[in-house]
Every structure is written in C-alpha cells, then in structure tokens.
C-alpha cells in the first residue's frame, strides 16, 4: 500500500443531478439495485448495512405505500459531514432519495433534520420545492418533505427516528421487524444516511466499478471524514477507505497525537502504539466519519467523563441496562478518581459495560462499552490517578 492517503471527490463533485436521474430512470429497478449491491456500498451513518440489500428488501415488500427517509439527525459527537453535504450539495441528496424511491416503489420521501441544523431549513425548503416540481414535470410520482428533530441524539437510531416522526417519544423499537418491512407508519421504509444516498446516486452515475475499485474488500469506496480536535487541519475530507490510523495521523495529527477516537463518542479510542495496525473500515474500526484527535496535553479521564455524561443525558431511559448503566459508569469513574472506590472497581464497571452491550435494546446502550473499555484498557492510569 502506498503511504499517502488518497483524497476523492465524489460527494462534493458538482454534477447535473437531474440528468443522472433521467438517465437512471431508463433502467429497471432491479438493474440499479444490483449495481448498488455490486458496488459494495455500505451505510455511511456508522452501522454499515449493505445499501443495495436494504433497497432490495424494501422493494420486495408488497404494500400500498412505502417511504424513503433520509436520516439527517447527525448527532454523533465529532460528526458534521451531513451538515456540510446538505449545505454544499443538497440537490444530490434529494436526487439520491428519488433514486431510492424509484427503486423500492415509494412515492414519498422525508428528510429528518436535527433541530440543531434548523438554520438550513429555508435553503432546503427552496431546493425541495424546485425538485418536487421537476419530478412532477417528469411524471415521477415522488415528493420530498422535511421533518425536524427536537434535540434528541437517540433519534438518529432509525426506529427511534420513526417514532419521533409519528409524534411519539423517540424510543427505539424492537427489531425485527426491520424498517424495510415495517417502518414509518408501519409501512416498508428504506432509511438511509445523507452520505449514503449521495454515494448511491454517484454509483448510478458512474457505474459500480469505479466505486468497487477503491477501498478494501469489506470497505469499498470512499468516505467523508469529519476531522476535529488537536489537528491543524480540522474539517471535512473525502478519503479512500483502507488506510491505517498511522497514515491518517501522519496526514492530520499535530505531531504529538496520543490517541484518536474513531467513530465518535460511541466509537473506539485507539492509542498511539496501535496506530500502525489499526485499519479504518469495517474490517478494522468502522466510523460514521467522526475522527477526534487528542494530543498528549489532554486528560483521557476528562474525555471519558465527557462521553459518559453525554450518554447519561442522551439515553432514552426506556431500557434499564442503558439507563442505569450509563449513570453507574459515570458515577463509578468519578468514585475511582476520588479514591472512594479502589482501582479494581474499574473491572467491575467493565463487567457492567459488557452487560450493557448484551442487554441494551438499541445501539446507544450497546456501544457505550466501546469508548469505555477502549479508554480504560489503554489509559488505565489516567483514569485512576
């Protein structure tokens, strides 16, 4: 592998989105879905479900109504790519939704936009009005609407998001049934991340090969990264997948990088000694794009404390392992730090976090052990002393 990481320009590339749609609507749904499957595209929100398969499942459902949802409830700490995509190339997102709608047989699409991005609403409404008119002119039965969030991180979880759209508390549902069979209002729904929809459009545009040629076996193509923290180059970068963390840090670090939190607060903390053998991607450490870089001046206790406070506030409270677990982990590290509990108490807490992984209902509680254990295993002394 060459030592330089490769920058790509698929997401922010200005294209004629309507021309791509006109060309693609000439093809059959199955052909397009096969291309998306073949490209290897996996969901860019973090969970990484194969996009083409999701579309195929939704298409195969019989229903009088189906829905497309664009998940723009970007709330993972350290992630800001979806805001940037919606600001710079909103038309490509809309076109990606229409493409999905065409493939699965949905006539309505919804963007669920987090409240923190309400300032984008006037611009988005304008673009949507134009886009919906263009669809009508083409006799395509597809219209897009926006729904706003109200400041709940857990609503980024797909079923919590649908509960919120239906006017309920944003509490995740049990799965199965999966949204592709019973989603919004109980109808088959394909819910995709903002970035995923744009990639799908670009795959329809260029064909699957170009995408497939990039990245690794499990992590095809490129990905938009949100780089923040102790870096001279904070910002948005679309990079080819398959790089190691060492390559990443060489490019973005400040020369004194102690650790990188890959995948946001719910992701993994990687310490310097593991940079070399850590691959960023589904076969290594996956990320929805968040890359927070910390240099040696930072206290890992403060970082872990911040994450736990975040989860304790954002846990929906529906299931006990997550609700109580988040509280106890936070209290627990505070007690160890103050010397109220012995250092060995950390092992008890790690056991508790494993219970959360097994017993929590949704990804929020299930992923709290990721930062917790990776920070404690790598930086135990900093948590105790």
């Amino acid at each position: 592998m060459e030592n330089k990481i490769k920058k790509v320009d698929l997401i922010f590339d200005k294209v004629d989105h309507l021309a791509i749609l006109d060309k693609t609507f000439q093809r059959s749904q199955d052909e397009i879905i096969l291309d998306v499957i073949d490209s290897g595209l996996r969901g860019r929100g973090g969970a990484g479900f194969p996009t083409g398969l999701k579309w195929k499942f939704a298409k195969n459902e019989e229903a009088d109504q189906k829905y497309v949802i664009c998940n723009a409830d970007e709330g993972e700490p350290g992630t800001f790519k979806d805001r940037e995509i919606l600001t710079q190339v909103p038309e490509k997102v809309l076109a990606g939704m229409a493409l999905c709608g065409y493939c699965i047989g949905a006539s309505e699409g919804y963007i669920y936009l987090r409240a923190e991005y309400n300032f984008l609403l006037p611009q988005l409404h304008e673009k949507i009005d134009v886009f919906n008119k263009k669809m009508k002119e083409r006799n395509m039965e597809f219209a897009i609407f926006i729904r706003s969030g109200s400041g709940a991180y857990v609503c980024g979880e797909e079923t919590a998001l649908m509960e919120s759209m239906e006017g309920n508390r944003g509490e995740p549902r049990n799965k199965p049934p999966f949204p592709t069979s019973k989603g919004y209002l109980g109808k088959p729904t394909s819910i995709n991340n903002v970035e995923t929809l744009v990639f799908a459009l670009m795959i329809a545009h260029h064909g699957p090969q170009q995408f497939k040629d990039m990245g690794t076996f499990d992590s095809r193509g490129s990905k938009v990264f949100s780089v923040s923290g102790d870096t001279p180059n904070a910002g948005i970068y679309e990079l080819e997948l398959g790089m190691t963390l060492e390559q990443f840090v060489n490019e973005f670090g400040d020369g004194d990088t102690k650790a990188v939190q890959v995948g946001g607060a719910s992701g993994f903390c990687v310490a310097r000694k593991h940079f070399k053998d850590t691959l960023i991607g589904f076969e290594g450490i996956p990320t929805g794009g968040s890359m927070m870089i910390f240099n040696s001046s930072r206290s890992m206790y403060n970082i872990l404390h911040d994450y736990l406070e975040f989860f304790e506030e954002e846990s929906c409270g529906q299931c006990t392992p997550c609700r109580v677990g988040c509280q106890q982990l936070l209290k627990g590290i505070e007690a160890v730090k103050k010397g109220i509990k012995p250092p060995s108490y950390l092992e008890e807490l790690q056991k508790l976090s494993e219970t959360m992984r097994i017993a929590s209902k949704c990804g929020l509680g299930q992923s709290v052990p990721n930062p917790f254990n990776s920070i404690i295993n790598n930086f135990r002394e900093e948590i105790i002393y």
């Binding site: 700490p77 800001f80 759209m165 006017g167 209002l185 923040s228 927070m292 970082i303 929906c316």
Partner: protein, 155 residues
C-alpha cells in the same frame, strides 16, 4: 378562546390533527412562545384529541421542547469534548458575567436563557453557540459579548 388556544388551533389546521402532527405542532408553539406552558399543552391535547399526560410525556422527552419558561433568545453553548478543548468554558463564564445568570437560568427581563447543549455539529470550528436557530461558530469571549449585544439592540 385564549390567544394560545387560537394559535394551537391554527397550527392544527396547518399540520393536521393526527398523531404524527404532534411534533410539528409542538415545535411551532416552541418557535413562537419559546416554551410549552401548561395551558399550551392542554390546548394541544384538546385539539389533537390526546391526553395531556401524553403530550407532556412526548414534549419532555426532547431537549429543544422546553416545558419551563425560557427567554426570547435561547443561547446554547456546545459542551462536547472538542468545543470544550477549544475553550467553551471561557464563553460560558463570560456570558454568565454579562447576563448575570448561571447556566440553565433566564435573565430577569426575560430576554436570554443561557444553556449548554450536546454536540452541535461544528467540531472543526469550535467553540460554537446557537442563539435560537442562528449558529455562531468559532466564538471567542469577545465575539460572544458582541453577539449578545446585537440581540440586545434588536430586542
């Protein structure tokens, strides 16, 4: 009909009276009144044929749907780690001094509420703050004071 009942009715006419109309109606009331009063929640429940407890239960789930009185301008400072690292504490201190309130409080003239928020999605340009829907990235204590002065002039 009181003023708020009338407003809620208008919103229900606009967004519908189905269960999935609830969030847009709640959001519209917060947009206009800055918070959901008991009176407003009772009106919404009546208009949408829901129990008031259900309306409160839904509203209180969401951070941005306040059920306690808030100021005309709600200032939210991002407290997540990267903004923390870029100096959000100094912003909080400066604004507490300027507005003479603590975090979570509203000024006595009812103009400003000072709050913290979880990640606002501007980690590369921290610290960041929201004033209602307006976003201000890369704020410094000096800039924060200026921004608030701007709103004072408008008020």
């Amino acid at each position: 009909m009181t003023k708020i009942e009338e407003f809620v009715k208008e919103q229900a006419d606009k967004y519908g009276r189905r269960r999935d109309s609830l969030m847009p109606v709640l959001q519209a009331v917060v947009q206009s009144e800055r918070f959901l009063s008991e009176e407003a929640m009772v009106a919404i429940a009546t208009e949408l044929d829901l129990s008031t407890a259900d309306v409160y239960g839904t509203a209180s789930f969401y951070t941005f749907l306040d059920t306690v009185p808030r100021g005309k301008y709600i200032v939210r400072i991002c407290k997540t780690i990267t903004c923390h690292m870029k100096g959000k504490d100094a912003i909080v201190e400066t604004l507490q001094d300027m507005l003479k309130v603590k975090l979570g409080e509203t000024t006595s003239d009812g103009l400003f509420s000072l709050l913290q928020a979880n990640c606002l999605g501007w980690c590369h340009k921290g610290p960041v703050m929201l004033v209602n829907d307006e976003v201000y990235p890369e704020v410094t204590p000096e800039k924060a004071v200026e921004i608030i002065r701007g709103y004072l002039k408008k008020a």
